[in-house]
Amino acid sequence: MRHVAIIGAGQAGSALAAKLKELGFDGRVTLIGDEPHPPYQRPPLSKAYLLGKLAADRLALRGPSFYAERGIDLRLATKVTRIIPAEKRIELGSESLAYDDLVLATGAAPIRLPADIGGALANIFALRTIGDVEEITPHIAPGKRALIVGGGYIGLEVAAALNQAGVDVTLVELQDRILGRVAAAETSAYFRSLHADRGVRLVEGVGLVTLEGEDRVRRARLSEGSCVDVDLVIVGIGVRPSVALAEAAGLAVENGVCVDAQGRTSVAGIWAAGDCASFLWDGRRLRIESVPHASDQAEAVAANILGAKRDYHPRPWFWSDQFDVKLQIAGLNAGYDRIVERKGAKPGSCSYWYFAGEKLLAVDAINDARAYMIAKRLIDTGRSPSPLDVADGDLA
């Protein structure tokens, strides 16, 4: 019986296993995850789940019987230690498992602070897994002092959640503005003022020099010379694709596991999808870190494993929830040369449209679902409205 083994039981791995079965694959599917939890949603971890507003079982992507009912062998708390492509088998410690097709859906891991600046002290956390949240939660209480390192989406979402829990939050961002890597200055400004209004202390253009304390972290020394007393530190300075297994097995790796348009890696019989996989986009190797991309790419790979030979065309979109603000992003803004603002119908709602020349690349819609939905449709179908109409015309 044909056997598809999937390494990684996150969004991509889970979607891939489900899709194989939905497409009628009657072979064996093994879905291997190193966490103890069945596949779950990560986005709520930095939002409702961190605040205790969402029960753990609501995080699960599928119910408890879903995998068994479909003959998917879900192996949790299991680490794959080696891939041996020449023998088409993987090792899970002392156990060996033969495959016909192997999928790497290994995701990405948060970048940690180095130990020599105090990164190994207690009470310093990343936020990627349920396990991370379980470690953080006992430290959340009104009056506690938290330092968030990194003003990207994760850092800002965590800052918002902790602030709402009564924690005194300072966020430090090394670049000259929050969201500098991912958004225009206009979007940064919106979220800067949102956080400042709620009492989050944002420190931009300032680096973290050291974290200090005897056992646990107690102080953070910042590059402009100040010192902040802290009870906990959450680090949100980005992720690196989890490629160790792929590298050791000799697969091509460049900003992630290299895949072709159909999800094949450089080694026959091995595929990759989701956060760990890099694909060609505008002449460079791109990875997209988002739930919809992970699912879509994984489902495309599932079809291709079964012989579809269909190229995957990403239609990137993202969202972020901070306080009562919902940001929805359509497209990828890399290479933009102009931002056009469009006011929304409600107070506090607006959207920023990224153009390269006359071509619409992406839109950040802030509490403006209408703008987002219009923009998504335009971008997905390769259409560009005139900047004049974006600014104050009728787009619908």
Binding site: Q41, S295, W317, K326, R370, M373
Partner: protein
Amino acid sequence: MPTITFITAGGKEHAVTAEIGRSVMEIALEKSIPGVVAECNGSAACATCHCYFDPAYSEAIGPIGEHESDMLDFTASPRRPESRLSCQVRVTDTLDGMTVCIPAMQ
């Protein structure tokens, strides 16, 4: 547990028991009902879990949110008075017997 009947765009009926407190979208995914995509897993961010809900249950379902309503104006299949994002509808005892029609496109 209440029973909800999903009717796919092709007219196929799937009667399922639904766990109270979950969203109708979660129930559809759980039971592998075709046509409910739910790209964002229930964050009201994508409008790919759009369904037509039995109008007789509109009071039991509860009012529609502003954000949800804005999203529904741009769904892939036309919005109707009984349109909702199924991720925003929680299963309660009062929804027992309700039918949910799934549109042709998400």
